[in-house]
Symmetry: C2
Subunit: 415 residues, 2 copies
């Protein structure tokens, strides 16, 4: 018996799921991972492995048991397709919480082709709906914690700090201005982000109709690789994606600098994004589990992000640290080239989160990961390989071409 | 060659789809129906046929050709599963517009079991997404007209007239109140309604990212059976659903009165709903096709409803016409027992819609349909057979039991 409760981590072999499973196991929870290893299969499709040499799931779990004395259980199935397995598992384990990472999570991948668009919608919506439907079918009072994204808000909110999920507005009714609190109007920027806005409506409905207790974490762009637990043994190392589809912007820059590739900035790099270190991700998830909404409470939404930066600023920071060159590409995405972004994250701060800042953690990443494993990188998978727009075709090698920054501004025009 | 353009009607064998296909064909459009006949297959599952004796799709189309000299083409496939068929069809026909009725459209059916919930989500979301994705893949400038529902708004807006899709609100930014126009916050009351709120986000995204021209019709509860075209020959007759899952409230009451079954009112019958006659539905769809949004315009939303009534008021109206008794049932749905509802429908009125009112059309329905075909009804499928709430179990025969109205109020409590 453990001190704490039982937790199921859906997608527990992935970039956020694996360190979360370890962190919760380390904290005394009985953890069961469900994963169909789809992310490893996509590595094969893209011809690009994790920069870090990750162990098989079996080796990971055996190693963790040797080191910690704790066994994490593993079930191999597809939650979007094998509904009965979910119901049976929930009934068997009666978990206190389910952490749901089991979605296709890369915006560029979701935009590659009609097949990728359709896979992302089908997989993410049916997977999330199956989880909700199965919780209701079992009749158990399980807290669902879902990894969402800051991207559901869009990035066009000049001057307004983005609130945590709900927005206070005034509506005119019969000449009177009535204050109401509404879910923040969603503004998705890709098929992937769109699926997260659909998820939010699934949560809204199941919370209202069936009283499910749900926390939705609107996470910023994750950077960093390892956590306290994944550092304990080489076979526990976390994955690090550096190619253009799954690699998050900071991790891509770090690796590009390490192998001497120019940093790939899209457009002017004036896009401001919210960031969080992977160590803070796993801490936030534990905080979310331990501060569950009450029965009858609306969906609880946290902004899981700790600082904001312009992409250009990040590139300059890393160029300064490493001497890397910066190269500008026509932005293959439909997005504002320059935006402001202010994000409220009061709730996690109030629960005691003490964030790791870029200025503290960046050098560790450069030494521990990017420099150490740079020989594993394939430079062919670095340039942008997915386009949002029919008018920005990719070149013969399937990538968007680099251009002078003046040209970027000219092509992008008023978008 | 026809005078007008080519139109594809997805779900063109159904209750709204069939009279729409005939109306557009009659107006000179070249119509192609796509349908997998799922609604007829659900009749078999539920053991309840249309009260009216509908002909097979082949007989329908042959009859229409004999009468009108116009051929409606028919393709049998499942749009949620057979994506390539959609792309090939769009490329072959290059339609001016696609009218999309091809969704599971009954709220009670969507609530029956986990399988029905999952089917409704999977079918409706993948079907709608496939249509959008296929339009983008073909690169054609096709206007998509989708049949949505008033139910996406919810029914809790005391005092406020429901606008057509968009709501003007004021947001406070740095001490200033800024007016903004947002999509009306969705408030779905069943799994079926939830899928329509998901559809709205698919439309929002594809309109914004890919510039698709889309009209979403937020339709009220349809009543009535036949239209000018379906009355032309017995083999063209439209379907009339009277059982508790697919029958809309007014049609159910009409048939119940005809066979001497008490009218089945849920709760106090104080729920106010918006209604539209099937003849006005087909007129509205033609108006929507002929008043398409411009390229670059946001999703165009019409409220497709012409009058509002309380369910109790409808029951009293029909009881007055026919002498039927009224019987109250514990409401199996999660909904307010009493609500006000005011709906804006200025846009269709401005385009010249001259609505058929209940007071004009009701007697025709009683004589033409309910009384004429009453011998085809099976009374076993009349009581409510799907529950929204675990605390309102159905009885051994799978139906919710009738009760005194005082008891309804007591059970429902503060809900």
């Amino acid at each position: 018996m453990s001190n704490n409760g039982r937790i199921i981590v859906l997608g527990g072999d992935g970039f956020c799921g694996w360190p979360t499973a370890l962190h919760l196991s380390n904290a005394g929870y009985d953890v069961t991972i469900v994963d169909n290893l789809s992310r490893r299969k996509i590595d094969i499709e893209l011809g690009a492995e994790s920069l870090t040499p990750i162990a098989t799931i079996d080796t990971r779990l055996d190693t963790w048991e040797e080191i910690s004395g704790k066994r994490i259980d593993f079930r191999y199935f597809n939650i979007a397709e094998e509904y009965r397995n979910l119901v049976d598992l929930f009934a068997e384990i009666e978990p206190q919480a389910i952490i749901h990472f089991a979605e296709q999570r890369a915006a560029p991948y979701s935009m590659k082709t009609p097949s990728h668009k359709r896979y992302t919608v089908d997989n993410n919506i049916n997977g999330t709906h199956n989880v909700l439907c199965a919780i209701v079918e079992t009749g158990l009072d399980i807290h669902l914690v879902h990894l969402g994204t800051m991207g559901v808000y869009g990035y066009g909110t000049a001057g307004m700090a983005i609130p945590e999920g709900y927005l206070g507005v005034k509506v005119e009714v019969e000449g009177q201005e009535i204050p109401i609190d509404i879910p923040y109007p969603p503004h998705p920027g890709s098929i992937y982000h769109m699926t997260k806005t659909l998820d939010a409506l699934l949560f809204y409905y199941y919370n209202k109709n069936d009283g499910l207790r749900i926390t939705d974490l609107h996470q910023g762009v994750v950077w960093g690789t390892n956590t306290e637990e994944t550092r304990l043994h080489p076979a526990l190392i976390n994955r690090f994606d550096y190619e253009s589809d799954y690699g998050t912007v900071l991790n891509r820059f770090l690796m590009q600098a390490a192998i001497g590739h120019p940093l790939t900035v899209y457009g002017t790099g004036g896009q401001t994004r919210a960031f969080i270190n992977i160590q803070d991700t796993v801490r936030c998830i534990k905080l979310a589990v331990e501060n569950a909404p009450m029965r009858g409470e609306r969906v609880k939404i946290f902004n899981q992000a700790t600082e904001t930066h312009r992409v250009r600023g990040l590139a300059e920071l890393i160029a300064g640290l490493t001497g890397a060159e910066i190269r500008y590409y026509v932005d293959p995405r439909n997005e504002s080239l320059e935006n402001e972004l202010v994000v409220r994250n009061d709730q996690f701060l109030a629960l005691g989160l003490n964030p790791i800042t870029l200025s503290e953690g960046l050098l560790t990443e450069v030494i521990e990961v990017a420099a150490r494993y740079k020989d594993r990188a394939r430079s062919a998978v670095i340039p942008p390989a997915s386009s949002w727009r029919a008018d920005i075709p990719l070149d013969k090698e399937g990538s968007s071409a680099p251009v002078a920054v003046e040209h970027v501004l000219q092509v992008a025009g008023g978008r």
